[in-house]
């Protein structure tokens, strides 16, 4: 009895280790479990538990130990990530079963897949929670490798090619990020002295004022390019569309919904560092430039897409560009918009990939040309997809609308010309999405009328959250976002 209460109190006082432990342990278990039903169930439960513990973070004290840190910034990310990971695991259970039936995957694959899923979760959470830049770097590398393996899961030529492209670009990105990390240490070293302290995030933040700005700039360039590769900012985005389209759909959801956020988180951490030092080259312009580039490029790329998953992968690039632009502008409104947009994008985009997964299964193809008239052939699925795409396109009452509203208005008030570019990009991307959507959803249906064997629960939950967010954001969340936005400067 007292044991349980002790555990609970321990959990509440410092849930971070637990959050990391659960997926790690589960990964080992899953590697041993042969039956895919059991492992799927285990996967879901583990993710659920992790999410619950992550909720405990909200109540937990903000602590910055030598290894782990819990501050407002990463709580946002941890809770969001564990939640999406949880819903995705639910979706993946129903999705993977179908893949097994169609024989695209073997039970062995699934065993590997589930284990990797948990490893990925653990790695991402570690990257978010670690207080040590080196550890964060290692964690992100691990996350990358696991996703590489999962992208290559189908062993088709296209899949391998995608995985390989992802792998090479990712490795270079990692290398650059490491160089940046080393530079940061070298910046810190004269100030905080030799030894591990030079990599402890909380320490760096305290002493940042005394750093040497010049070297910090160099460091930021490398970090931006290194982690920016993971975020998928143009011109470093090349791996993203193929990885999304060739891997299993749950992984596409995880990539868009989680991994991009983690990489973005890394970039933000260092932007914070830069922001807290007056003498540095402002990181804003770099972020804005890459953001706009991604937005415009993705907007145009959307028009020529023939593969439904690649289509939405490019829309992820577009939105990452928006978010980067928002943080680049900075200021309370834009940062708020950025945070909100990031949250909304993960929820919506993963929801879209849930829907797309089922669509591809019922239509038996990913080719847009063969997916038509869904609202007629599969009304529920079709309308879910319409709502989700409308949400990601920034149509109300989705939360994306609010973030885009804040972004556009605040940007135009402060830098009109850039805002015009931004609006142009938004409109171009919107047109492309609607063009594709009206073919997918309306008109005479294409063959392929298999019943959907899927649970709409994750999809529905995500969409419900997104739609409500456009109308009502709970005050604590708002206060918290505003606080973080203020931190981001």
């Amino acid at each position: 009895m007292s044991l349980v209460s002790g555990l609970l109190s321990g959990l509440l006082s410092d849930p971070a280790p637990v959050i990391l432990a659960i997926p790690a342990v589960t990964a080992l278990l899953l590697a041993l479990v042969p039956s895919y039903r059991v492992s799927a169930a285990l996967n879901v439960t583990a993710c659920g538990l992790t999410f619950l513990c992550a909720l405990a973070l909200l109540a937990a004290p903000r602590i910055a130990g030598p290894f782990l840190i819990v501050d407002d910034l990463n709580i946002v990310f941890v809770v969001l990530n564990t939640f999406v990971a949880f819903t995705t695991s639910v979706f993946s259970a129903s999705y993977i079963a179908h893949e097994l039936e169609t024989g695209r995957l073997t039970p062995l694959h699934l065993r590997f897949y589930h284990a990797m899923y948990q490893v990925l979760l653990a790695a991402m959470t570690l990257a978010l929670l670690s207080n040590n830049l080196g550890v964060m770097w290692v964690a992100i590398e691990v996350a990358t490798l696991t996703t590489v393996l999962m992208v290559g899961l189908y062993r088709t030529e296209a899949a391998i090619e995608a995985a390989w492209k992802y792998f090479m670009l990712g490795s270079v990105g990692i290398a650059l990020a490491l160089f940046g990390t080393i530079l940061v240490y070298m910046v810190a070293q004269p100030v905080v002295g030799e030894g591990p302290d030079g990599m402890i995030w909380s320490v760096l933040m305290k002493r940042a004022r005394d750093f040497d700005p010049g070297l910090l700039n160099v460091a930021f360039v490398f970090l931006l390019l290194g982690y920016g590769t993971k975020v998928g900012l143009a011109p470093l985005h090349a791996w993203l569309p193929d990885a999304h389209s060739e891997g299993p759909t749950p992984i596409s959801a995880v990539l868009s919904g989680l991994l991009l956020n983690v990489a973005l988180f890394a970039v933000l951490r260092f932007k914070l560092l830069m922001a807290s030092h007056p003498g540095t080259l402002a990181p804003g312009p770099l972020l804005m430039a890459m953001g706009l580039a991604s937005l415009l490029l993705a907007g145009f790329m959307l028009y020529r897409r023939r593969d439904i998953k690649r289509l939405f992968a490019y829309s992820s690039i577009e939105h990452m560009g928006l978010i980067a632009f928002a943080f680049g502008i900075g200021g309370p409104l834009a940062n708020f918009a950025g945070l909100l947009h990031m949250t909304m994008h993960s929820l919506t985009k993963s929801a879209i990939f849930f829907a797309v997964g089922h669509v591809c299964q019922v239509k038996g193809t990913q080719k847009l040309a063969d997916i038509r008239g869904l609202t007629t052939s599969h009304p529920a699925l079709g309308w879910f997809l319409v709502v989700a795409v409308a949400a990601i396109a920034g149509l109300p009452p989705a939360g994306v609308f609010m973030s885009e509203f804040l972004l556009v208005t605040s940007a135009f008030a402060r830098m009109p010309l850039l805002a015009l570019l931004l609006v142009a990009g938004l409109l171009i991307a919107f047109g492309a999405l609607m063009l594709k959507l009206s073919d997918i959803a309306f008109g005479a249906p294409s063959p392929g009328t298999a019943k959907v064997k899927a649970s709409y629960v994750p999809l529905g939950v995500h969409l419900a959250l997104v739609l409500v967010a456009g109308l009502y954001l709970p005050p604590p969340l708002v206060a918290w976002f505003r606080h973080v936005a203020a931190l981001l400067g």
């Binding site: 700039n217 470093l236 020529r304 920034g394």
Partner: protein, 673 residues
């Protein structure tokens, strides 16, 4: 009594009901009970909202803040005279459309795609009028667009509808983005600046205000259908079910006008002297282009949609005059012009609703919208033909109906403008006046054609010959709107007085009290200057007509003999020898459209002895497509094609991109001091 807060709550309640109905529509679609419940409920809700708004016209503004929407300021809702007036207009249209829908919906083969969105559409429009902060405004605005888009693509199997929906939603989003930018300037980037009150408190500077004007014209204009942003309108309005077309054409465009008035007259501070110029120019061009295009269409609903563009042009000319007068300190004249604009808003809502209803009735009865398939319906559909005649006469601005009154008021406003100091305005206004007169005359021609081809003559197709009068609900809806047209035409003074709170709220000055004038005449400025009395003219004409009939029938012959038509001694040829829509438009096409729309006529004569019929085809193009949108889409496509190569590079080349990005940034650092 604290302002109109009670009415505000009532309207909000109605909106809530409408939203609930939208949800119910998903469940109940498919069964007739559902149809009756949804449309009946929408009718009741709109009716209640409209009536309470009517009572709110005169009472003081009332506001309310809900803890939703933009977190730190919440959703501001406010009802003042202006929004109250527009609430009356849209709920009038909404109620009529709902009533019409009860009957019309029976013929809808995909009710599950209409029933959920119809109430949502109404709710969205109501919310736009209530919203008093930028976020709620744009949220409702875009929600309205979304719902109407869903209605446009409701019949997605019919060719062209999906494309119409696509063009519509993209143009709608363009408009929303433009308004977003405008509000961005008005809010000046401060978190609390998004409330309309804050904007009023801190009006933008001269340059910013000018930009806001331009953006408002783009944003509201694209929704209202100003040339050249009108291209979606003739595609989308006909695509929707007819009662929705009536809403989109008659009502939603008015919401756009409201948005323009709210932003330009209310939020962006005192106008500069030249603001009237672009607004008037846009209006005049829209009026002429719209009506000429309407004259060239052979699809009845598309012709109506184009005529909407014309009427929006009238409204914007009046608004431009009001701006010019206001900026140059002629409050009375400004009040007159604004009144004319609002009056025309009301009129057009009624007339266009009525006409779309009758087009829908014809569609139900004959199954076609092509004028050349119709004809002779006056014999088959007595009620529809009468109300449609009233609608056509009204929209052709014939006394004693309502269309004439607003046009008359606009002309009176034009005649006041020589007092304006600025030369630009003085040179502009008469030209605009000429454009308006031309547009009005062409509108008459357009609706002679519309009515004559559809309802008169001999049926041009079996379906037209076998047409049946539509159901009672549809008839009731049409009769109601026709009643509004007649009433507003006969008693314009009452309408004008009802408009004054809104006008004085914006201008700070009002037109003289009309209801006190002897014999219900209307006197915009002074009796010696101009006056008009619709009632008297009507009675006078009716009396003379009846007197003539009486005298002739009693003193001379009243006998009638039926005989085959003489037609200069020709035998009764086939109905196809009648004038068709295209041939009726021929003179005007040759005079006006040849250069403007590149209108061409082609006649294919079969060689002597061949049995194939001779074919005549008349083609015209919309310059907005030819010169703006087609090149634009081509350009986007070209860029997309270029960019697309980036998808097919090799890994090494991608690494090259990363590498060059790195080198570039390092160079920046190296050169940056």
């Amino acid at each position: 009594m604290i302002g109109a807060s009670f009415q505000l709550f009532v309207v909000l309640g109605a909106v809530g009901v409408l939203l609930l109905l939208a949800v119910a529509g998903v469940a109940l679609a498919g069964r007739p009970a559902g149809r009756i419940l949804i449309y009946g409920g929408a009718l009741a809700a709109s009716g209640v909202a409209g009536l309470s708004a009517l009572t709110a016209l005169a009472s003081a503004p009332a506001g309310l803040v809900l803890p939703i929407g933009l977190p730190w300021i919440g959703a501001h809702l406010r009802i003042d005279a202006l929004s109250a007036f527009f609430l009356c207009v849209i709920n009038l249209g909404g109620a009529a459309a709902s009533l019409y829908g009860i009957g019309y919906g029976r013929h809808d083969h995909a009710p599950q795609r209409v029933l959920p969105f119809f109430p949502a559409f109404l709710a969205g429009m109501n919310l736009v009028l209530l919203a008093a902060d930028a976020y709620s405004f744009l949220l409702s605005w875009e929600f309205m667009s979304l719902a109407s888009w869903a209605l446009v693509v409701a019949h997605d199997k019919e060719p062209g509808n999906v494309r119409a929906g696509l063009v519509y939603i993209i143009m709608a989003s363009f408009g929303t983005l433009a308004l977003m930018l405008a509000f961005g300037l008005l809010a000046a980037g401060t978190p609390e600046g998004y409330a309309f009150d804050a904007m009023r408190a801190a009006p933008p500077g001269a340059v910013a205000a000018a930009v806001v004007l331009a953006l408002a014209m783009l944003g509201a204009g694209s929704k209202a259908g100003l040339v050249p942003l009108h291209v979606w309108l003739p595609l989308a309005h006909p695509a929707a079910p007819s009662h929705v077309s009536a809403l989109m054409s008659g009502v939603m465009t008015k919401v756009a006008v409201y948005g323009f008035i709210r932003i330009v007259f209310d939020l962006s501070g005192p106008p500069a002297w030249w603001w009237g110029l672009p607004v008037m120019a846009a209006g005049g061009v829209a009026a002429v282009i719209g009506v000429l295009q309407a004259l060239l269409q052979s699809d009845a609903k598309r012709a109506l949609a184009y005529s909407t563009i014309e009427n929006i042009g009238f409204v914007f000319v009046a608004l431009g005059l009001a701006l010019a007068f206001r900026a140059n300190g002629f409050a009375a004249a400004a009040a007159l012009a604004l009144t004319a604009a609002l009056f025309h808003v009301l009129n057009h809502a009624a007339m266009k609703g009525l006409l779309f209803f009758s087009a829908g009735a014809v569609l139900t009865a004959t199954g076609t919208r092509q004028m050349d398939q119709l004809g002779g319906l006056i014999h088959r559909m007595p009620v529809t033909s009468v109300v449609a005649l009233i609608g056509c006469a009204a929209i052709s601005a014939l006394p004693p109906l309502n269309g004439f009154v607003s046009e008359w008021l606009i002309f009176q406003a034009v005649l006041l403008s020589p007092d304006l100091p600025a030369w630009g305005l003085r040179l502009m206004v008469p030209a605009i006046g000429a454009l308006l007169a031309l547009a009005a005359a062409l509108a008459a021609a357009c609706f002679v054609r519309f009515y004559g081809i559809i309802f008169l003559g001999r049926p041009r197709s079996p379906s037209a010959a076998g047409a049946q009068e539509v159901d009672a609900f549809s008839r009731a809806a049409m009769i109601a709107l026709a009643g509004v047209c007649v009433a507003a035409g006969l008693l314009p003074g009452l309408v004008i007085d009802a408009l004054q709170p809104a006008v004085s709220g914006l201008i700070g000055h009002r037109m003289p009290e009309q209801s006190s004038v002897a014999w219900l005449s209307i006197i915009p400025v002074a009796e010696s200057r101009s006056s008009y009395n619709g009632l008297l003219v009507f009675l006078f004409t009716a009396f003379s007509a009846l007197a003539a009939a009486y005298v002739i029938h009693h003193l001379a012959s009243g006998a009638v003999r039926r005989a085959p038509p003489w037609d200069c001694g020709f035998p009764d040829a086939s109905p196809l020898t009648q004038y068709s829509a295209a041939s009726f438009a021929q003179p005007i096409r040759r005079v006006f459209a040849r250069s403007l729309f590149a209108a061409r006529e082609r006649v294919e004569m079969p060689p002597p002895g061949a049995l194939t019929p001779a074919r005549f085809t008349a083609t015209a193009r919309d310059p907005a497509w030819a010169f703006l949108f087609v090149p634009l889409t081509k350009a986007v496509g070209a860029v997309a094609e270029r960019a697309n190569h980036l998808q097919y590079l090799t890994i090494r080349q991608y690494l090259g991109l990363v590498f060059s990005a790195l080198v570039l940034l390092l160079l920046v650092l190296a050169l940056w001091t």
